[in-house]
């Protein structure tokens, strides 16, 4: 599910007003995505801070998959909306125990700063437990209104699951996209 529209935007805005740390990270991220990939930097970002006090940073353990899966800035999260499953007992590609992964989803295309390739990311929701409430993250660049359903993140994508109750969202690699 992908509908936590303003909150993280607001949170990051408020945070930025206080410290501008997040603005810095965004700028850093843009620089990284812009071209010259410096493999050490994303790791440094992850280790530094994910922006969620009380949530410990992670790494994927794979330098080809750089960044912190508990951070809204993690490269796979380029079109995610919701609570990050990595903060909720799941992983960036897996649901927490006891939940069910939605077979339906909305999809984004994110560039991996480690190899410069565009990956198709499937934002499958994890369903059947109450709101995880941790690591609320929203990025709206590719969002379209509700009438373009599979490009819309205001919809509860816990569909086709035993329960439509939403808990958190994953960001699963389903392949490399054709270059535009």
């Amino acid at each position: 599910m992908n509908y936590f529209d303003h909150i993280t935007e607001i949170i990051s805005r408020k945070f930025a007003q206080r410290s501008s740390r997040r603005g810095l990270l965004t700028a850093l991220g843009t620089a990284l995505l812009g071209g010259s990939v410096l493999p050490l930097l994303p790791v440094a970002r992850a280790a530094a801070d994910n922006g969620y006090p009380g949530v410990a940073a992670q790494t994927t353990g794979n330098p080809e998959d750089p960044g912190d899966p508990t951070s809204c800035d993690y490269w796979r999260h380029c079109a995610i909306d919701g609570f990050l499953c990595s903060c909720c007992g799941g992983k960036q590609y897996a649901c927490p125990p006891g939940t069910e992964m939605s077979p339906m989803t909305w999809i984004g295309t994110c560039r991996n700063p480690a190899d410069g390739k565009d990956y198709i990311i499937s934002y499958n929701d994890c369903c059947g437990r109450t709101s995880c409430s941790r690591c609320l993250c929203n990025r709206n660049e590719a969002d379209k209104p509700l009438y373009r359903a599979f490009s819309n993140n205001d919809t509860n994508w816990c569909l086709g699951t035993e329960s439509t109750v939403y808990s958190c969202s994953t960001a699963v690699i389903i392949g490399v996209a054709i270059k535009k």
Binding site: I10, N140, Y147, T155
Partner: protein, 408 residues
């Protein structure tokens, strides 16, 4: 300052009755009666009189036009959302009451009957088990549940609260519910006789924009509109796809509208207004004009937030605006509310908000108030006489009130 009650120390009240089965619970506990024996007779006229038990407040049958409904989707416990009834004009007692509205519920009030309607979803074990979709009907005066209609099929569309996924039609005789499974359809309910009439597919389209007496439009994924006309019995009479009238890729329309009379004003992501005339059963795509000057466009002024637009019967549109917008900033909220004369298509003034805004609403009375869900999820109330912040209604009145409905 507490003086422990001696009586309760001598007599343990937690007297249990042995054996199984459901115990009948006393409606008026015995110890209250016993306590009464200990009360002194009134000693002076100044003494405060005992107050009757139980007492439950009620509300007027017609709500004042300074009230609104704050729909709290409650992101941090989505199954347990609610609609809070708020008086924005009063100096205090702003929180009037609440009704349940969980699991991505939808809400609408009747303006012809003293009733409130909630479309919601229940699970027999809260987050799982058997699913039941319902329309729950409350009376305005008591906020009591007076009827329930079961919606068949478990297909009620669940999304962050929108006004146009639950709408009244046919002089409020019908209540229309948007479904999404992901097949899109609309269930028509006879809300007077409390029965489900039919379900109508709206493939590739979404939401319900009432049109004329018995029609409604739905926005479609290709930038067109699907028109559905119902028979007098509430069955499908005719469907028609209007030609594409906006660019879905470059500049899609928000699903939120201002509505003045039968004219709806759809803002676009980049700051246009698309007018659609819903006077007759077949909507007429009308003029398109810009909310922003060329200079403002260059500065990136765009509409943004959740409920980004609202209107007043006096002919004014209110739009939540932010600067430095970009493709993807359409839900960021805004620092200003711009006021437009809808007929003249001209801006009247800019209101600079005290706090960042997410959702806006304007009460419908002759002296209107602007209400803004701010970034802390409290509601800022501005007096539109002088655009000054009058008060903030917060303190957990609602956890995440993304949708505000002014009393009609």
């Amino acid at each position: 300052m507490t003086f422990p009650l001696k009586l309760s120390r001598r007599r343990p009240w937690s007297l249990a009755r042995p054996g199984g089965g459901a115990f009948k619970v006393m409606r008026r506990p015995a110890h209250l009666a016993l306590l009464a024996c200990l009360l002194l007779p009134p000693m002076s006229s100044a003494e405060l009189a005992p107050e009757p038990i139980p007492q439950v407040l009620s509300l007027p049958t017609d709500y004042p036009d300074t009230w609104l409904y704050a729909h709290d989707s409650n992101f941090f416990s989505l199954v347990d959302g609610k609609v809070v009834i708020v008086d924005v004009a009063a100096e205090n007692r702003n929180y009037k009451g609440q009704i349940g509205a969980g699991q991505f519920a939808s809400f609408i009030e009747s303006s012809r009957r003293p009733e409130l309607y909630v479309a919601e979803t229940f699970y027999s074990r809260r987050t799982g088990g058997e699913r039941t979709d319902t329309i729950t009907i409350y009376n305005k005066a008591g906020l009591e549940q007076i009827a329930e209609i079961i919606l068949p099929g478990g297909k009620r569309g669940q999304n962050v609260s929108l006004k146009n996924n639950l709408q009244l039609l046919n002089e409020e005789r019908w209540l229309l519910v948007f479904n999404f499974t992901p097949a899109a359809s609309v269930t028509v309910v006879d809300i007077v006789n409390r029965e489900v009439l039919t379900e109508i597919a709206i493939p590739g389209c979404a939401l319900i924009y009432p049109s004329g007496k018995t029609g409604f439009g739905s926005l479609c994924s290709d930038g067109s509109m699907l028109v559905t006309e119902l028979s007098d019995e509430g069955k499908l009479k005719r469907q028609e796809r209007l030609p594409v009238f906006f660019d879905m890729e470059a500049d899609p329309l928000f699903t939120k509208t201002g509505r003045i009379g039968q004219m709806a004003y759809f803002p676009s992501f980049r700051g246009d207004i698309q007018e659609v005339d819903f006077s007759s059963t077949r909507p007429v795509i009308s003029a398109r004009w810009s909310l922003v000057s060329e200079e403002e466009k260059a500065q990136g002024w765009r509409p943004g937030g959740w409920q980004v637009i609202t209107s007043h019967p006096d002919g004014r549109l209110y739009v939540l605006m932010h600067k430095d917008g970009y493709d993807g900033s359409h839900k960021n909220g805004g620092a200003e509310v711009w006021v437009f004369d809808a007929k003249k298509r001209q801006r009247i003034r800019r209101i600079v908000l005290e706090n960042w805004g997410v959702t806006i609403e304007v009460t419908r009375g002759e002296r209107p108030y602007l209400v803004v869900t701010n970034a802390d999820f409290a509601m800022d109330v501005y007096d539109l006489e002088d655009d000054k912040l009058l008060r903030t209604i917060g303190g957990r009145a609602a956890e995440t009130p993304f949708m505000l409905h002014a009393v009609k």
